[in-house]
Amino acid sequence: MNLPLNKNPDYFEIFALVPKFHIDMGSLDTNFRDFQRQVHPDKTAHLSDAERRLSMQWATLANEAYQTLKKPIDRASYLLRINGIETHSEGHVVGLSEDFLMEQMEWREALQETIDNVDIEELDKLERRVKTKLTGQLDRLGNLLDSEQSFDAAADLVKQTRFLDRLLAEINNAYELLEN
């Protein structure tokens, strides 16, 4: 009487969501918590080794799924993956337009300048510009994935957003550097 439970459910399935880029973040939060309430290792700490091990595995999966779906770029990348397209997480410049790469170089130079000049105001401006660009790209990504279903174009855009995301991380590091 084994249950016909899929041992490798996809991340959307775990949280009872339709596999789309635009998801209800409130439902994601609520369903994640409800799921963890069932499987979290704190619920099985007094049970047998086997139950504790399974509980850790399911809680790990739920955390991974939640983190992936919570972040727009990772969510897009995951949607592409379940549609058979792998987008690598690190620095693949193949297929990126020259204009985009030029802009990236300019922004990176600008970032270095703000660090050299200890110029927090300029850093704020740069951060705003990058964030605006990223927001625009994520909107387009949503359309490509949900409405147009143009997965190849979406995959190219995911690569671009990863660049922007990394740049934002570096801007974050720069804040830390300048504030100390």
């Binding site: 009487m1 084994n2 249950l3 439970l5 399935e13 775990i14 949280f15 009872a16 439902s27 609520t30 369903n31 918590r33 409800d34 799921f35 963890q36 309430r37 069932q38 499987v39 979290h40 290792p41 704190d42 700490a45 007094h46 049970l47 047998s48 080794d49 086997a50 139950e51 399974l54 509980s55 850790m56 399911w58 809680a59 790990t60 955390n63 991974e64 939640y66 983190q67 974050n172 804040y175 830390e176 504030e179 100390n180």
Partner: protein
């Protein structure tokens, strides 16, 4: 007796038996143990009704260690055999500990974890901590009148894997079953949140005797979610004593290595405590010539001396806020934890930084132990009126060494635990059957700036052409924040064997040896002790099986139920005997017999989670 023995087939009522469990705050300067009594958390006091146990152990030749207040009394006359603030040495080597030269101890030159030469022989920080834990454990057993199911032991949120593992090892040596290692600020948030019914985003500022943590949590509808944590594992109240000490010894022209100096340190502590409620204090000591030296110190002087230390706590606070993606204005409340937060200079700095008065309704010395007791009660399987969920994070990024001495991050800091990450590797030589890699924790790019956790040696890779093998290495961080590694070769399906060489921690042989030494010291029979340990484990397993059977025996076929019931009966008989090897063997059999059952029970939980969600979604 914690175990209710039921006749086979007869179900027991799990909530009738209160399973005994405690929360332990193993602090740098003080430790505490707490439990739940009449649904309320309370600290268990000693025979003189004292809640705090000084985290001090004195070692003398041919004698059991002296722990707590009695050891504190020996601190001045027998400084080199009286270990204070041992928490600072946990999972650390001699080169890690900046202030080693300021201590009176004889350190043994040694590459691994610190070792100290005492009159009772060489001890390491894990053993010293175990000696403290034993006293708290005995206090709890005596007070509660029965064996404990286990304990939740708190650790600074910013503790790395080596420090966490050292804490868990200490508990094992003390004979304590660790239900969970819980982060101190999270424990405080549980105690505070449940007590006050708090909702919103809270910052827990935890300055203890030797460690500083900041955690940002979201409390909502029974969920305690850590958004970010940061800290300094070597900054605490002790350091404030040190700055006053340095200033006073300069003013009084006292040699910091002299006899007066250790007398001075306790004077300094008293003066610091007095300055909490008074504008000034006096420091008095007897000089070498018998004359009384007196030095007044005002709160203003102290605040000036402390200003750099106070500032040092705010850097991690800023980092945590940034990692959580929050502004100061979004923080609904700031909870102060740790005795050192009584200092007015800390309260002022925190109020100024967060632009609001911090919350101090709970005793900052006790709140961590109380939170740990609440969580221990739940983890032991006792039903509570409220139901809540803790989602904690890993404080430091986890990665491996790549070419050029760089660290590649696999799991970023502040990821919710448990978490796992898999990475594929291949061989670079024909017929290669082994490979090694180096696991690190930290935020910097160069491995020399990160903390080395362990080196792993993978063996048993099937010989193939170079680059043909695909070895998937999985790094798992469990709910205690502890890291484990497993590996298998994907093409052949062979599980590679992993040999762990912890960089700072103790290997299994060390622990076995220390366990034996510790029993030898207590003059207990090793065999008897081992029997007792296996009996306790077996009883725990029987109890877990009883719970599972009483809830879900309908998930088993008639034959499976017979097999399982038989295994239960065999184990029940075995624990009545005195053959620990038999108990171990039969326990393993029962464990194996219940593996499928465990899987089905988990499937039911997940199904019900999924069904619940579908209903929710439909209702929307």
């Amino acid at each position: 007796m914690l175990l209710q023995i039921a006749e086979p087939g007869q179900s027991i009522e799990p909530e009738v038996v209160q399973r005994l469990a405690v929360g332990i705050d193993l602090g740098t300067t003080h430790s505490l143990v707490a439990t739940i009594r009449d649904s309320l958390p309370q600290v268990i006091t000693d025979e003189k009704d004292r809640a705090l146990l000084p985290s001090i152990v004195n070692y003398r030749a041919n004698s059991t260690p002296t722990v707590g207040w009695d050891a504190k009394a020996l601190q001045n006359e027998d400084a080199q055999n009286t270990i204070v603030s041992v928490k600072r040495f946990m999972g650390r080597t001699l080169t890690d500990v900046a202030h080693a030269q300021n201590t009176p101890y004889h350190f043994v030159p040694h590459e691994g974890m610190i070792q100290i030469e005492t009159a009772a022989g060489t001890v390491n920080p894990v053993q010293v901590s175990a000696d403290i834990l034993k006293v708290l454990h005995d206090r709890a057993v005596h007070h509660l009148g029965g064996e404990l199911v286990g304990a939740v032991i708190t650790v600074p949120a910013y503790f790395d894997d080596a420090q966490r593992q050292a804490t868990k090892d200490a508990a094992q040596i003390a004979g304590i079953n660790v239900l969970r290692l819980l982060n101190e600020p999270t424990a405080a948030a549980v105690a505070y949140g449940l007590d006050q019914g708090a909702e919103g985003i809270y910052a827990v500022y935890d300055l203890g005797g030797g460690t500083f943590d900041i955690s940002i949590l979201r409390l909502s509808r029974g969920v305690f979610e850590v958004l970010a944590t940061n800290g300094d594992p070597a900054l605490g109240g002790d350091d404030f004593d040190r700055v006053i000490f340095n200033w006073v010894s300069k003013q009084m022209e006292i040699d910091p290595a002299s006899n007066e100096a250790s007398q001075l340190l306790s004077e300094v502590r008293q003066a610091k405590e007095r300055l909490t409620d008074h504008p000034s204090a006096k420091i008095e000591i007897r000089g070498a010539n018998g004359a009384l030296l007196v030095l007044p110190i005002s709160r203003e002087i102290f605040n000036n001396l402390a200003v750099e230390l106070v500032k040092r706590t705010l850097t991690p606070v800023r980092k945590a806020l940034r990692d959580a993606g929050l502004d100061i204005g979004q923080i609904d409340g700031v909870v102060l934890v740790g005795g050192a937060t009584r200092m007015p200079c800390i309260r002022q700095a925190v109020a100024k930084f967060f632009e609001q008065e911090p919350l101090t309704n709970l005793d900052p010395d006790k709140v961590v132990a109380l939170g740990a007791a609440i969580q221990a009660n739940v983890l032991a399987g006792n039903r509570m009126k409220e139901d809540w969920l803790l989602l904690d994070v890993i404080p430091l990024s986890l990665g491996i060494e790549t070419m050029g001495g760089l660290m590649e991050k696999l799991i970023p800091r502040n990821s919710t635990i448990p978490i796992a990450r898999a990475q594929d590797f291949t061989t670079f030589k024909d017929g290669q059957t082994a490979m090694s890699f180096h696991v690190l924790q930290g935020e910097r790019e160069l491995i020399s700036d990160c903390r080395s956790l362990a080196r792993f040696e993978l063996n048993g890779i099937p010989p193939m052409a170079a680059g043909a093998a695909r070895i998937r290495v999985t790094f798992q961080v469990d709910a205690d924040g502890l890291v484990s590694v497993s590996a298998n070769e994907l093409i052949s399906g062979v599980e590679a064997k992993i040999e762990v060489k912890p960089s700072y921690g103790l290997n299994d042989d060390d622990i076995t040896r220390m366990l034996q030494e510790s029993f030898a010291n207590a003059q207990a029979d090793i065999e008897a002790r081992r029997l007792e340990e296996h009996r306790v484990d077996a009883k725990r397993l029987l109890e877990a099986t009883d719970v599972a059977l009483s809830e879900d025996s309908h998930l088993l076929t008639q034959e499976e139920l017979v097999v399982l019931t038989k295994a239960v009966e065999t184990l029940r008989e075995a624990i009545l005997g005195s053959d620990w090897q038999l108990i171990k063997q039969v326990s393993e059999k029962l464990n194996n017999a219940s593996t499928d059952f465990a899987g089905r029970r988990m499937d039911i939980s997940i199904k019900s989670a999924l069904t619940g969600q579908t209903l929710d979604t439909l209702a929307m």
